[in-house]
């Protein structure tokens, strides 16, 4: 095989590209869930260490922001790439003109509940790991969980609304451009 042949690009089979993209999407969601769980767990280990003054010589005394930044970057870049093309979602609201507020309020609520359960679970594991089962503080977990749930509820709804507004604007711009080209 010649040097040129090694780097030569042949035309891509559209079906293979489509199937590979589906596979990448599955991998992306596995990563997403895994990283969220890991971030929550590390944050709870850090919080419990600080709350119970266990930070001396503790490996949990510092939480690197790199993982969080990478996670946020992956999410934001994915959304921006879609929104720039005027894509809000791939389902039944992909080309609506009015924001489906009730639908996304429910989605945000489900997300908030998930965050609440995840945080309590992560805190429980962290406290059992560092302090033992008898020292688990349910009130701390519940209050932290509620705070995060409220933040997730508001943040998810706001993020979806913003994505909707920007994607609708881009879609309208694209349509205007297509109409002026006719």
């Amino acid at each position: 095989m010649s040097f040129k042949e090694v780097f030569e690009q042949r035309k891509k089979d559209e079906r293979i590209v489509a199937e590979a993209n589906k596979a990448y999407a599955v991998g992306f969601y596995i990563f997403l869930v895994g990283i969220v769980v890991d971030l929550y767990y590390k944050l709870m280990l850090f919080e419990v260490s600080v709350a119970h003054d266990l930070t001396q010589n503790s490996i949990y005394a510092f939480v690197s922001p790199l993982e969080f930044i990478t996670f946020m970057l992956a999410c934001i870049v994915s959304v921006v790439l879609m929104v720039r093309k005027g894509i809000f979602e791939i389902g039944k609201f992909s080309d609506v003109e009015k924001f489906p507020a009730l639908h996304y309020a429910v989605i945000s609520l489900v997300g908030a509940l998930g965050a609440f359960v995840l945080l309590i679970g992560a805190r429980l594991v962290a406290e059992v790991q560092l302090l033992g089962f008898e020292s688990v503080s349910w009130s701390s977990g519940l209050s932290s969980g509620l705070l995060v749930a409220v933040f997730v509820l508001a943040g998810a709804f706001a993020a979806n609304y913003l994505s909707f507004r920007v994607s609708r604007y881009r879609r309208q711009q694209e349509l205007k451009k297509l109409e002026s080209d006719e």
């Binding site: 042949r10 079906r15 389902g91």
Partner: protein
């Protein structure tokens, strides 16, 4: 949303006309695949109804086989 919901893809219709036209043109699946820039597996799946090609690929197949879109892809009864 019905049975053809988000998680269930609509199955492509088996396309015997492509196979007939391909045989008439004395082309194998591999020959047709190479002519239109896809893999042999993709041509096989299109003929068997396992994949819905895009319009671009449909046009490329028509050109390679010397047929029209109606002749190869129009579904009877529509």
């Amino acid at each position: 949303m019905g049975r053809q919901g988000f998680f269930i893809e609509r199955r492509a219709m088996k396309n015997k006309r492509i196979k007939v036209a391909r045989v008439e043109a004395d082309m194998s699946q591999a020959d047709l695949a190479e002519a239109v820039g896809v893999t042999r597996q993709t041509i096989g799946l299109i003929e068997a109804g396992g994949y819905n090609p895009t319009l671009n690929l449909c046009i490329a197949i028509c050109k390679a086989l010397g047929k029209t879109l109606d002749e190869l892809f129009w579904e009877e009864g529509e």
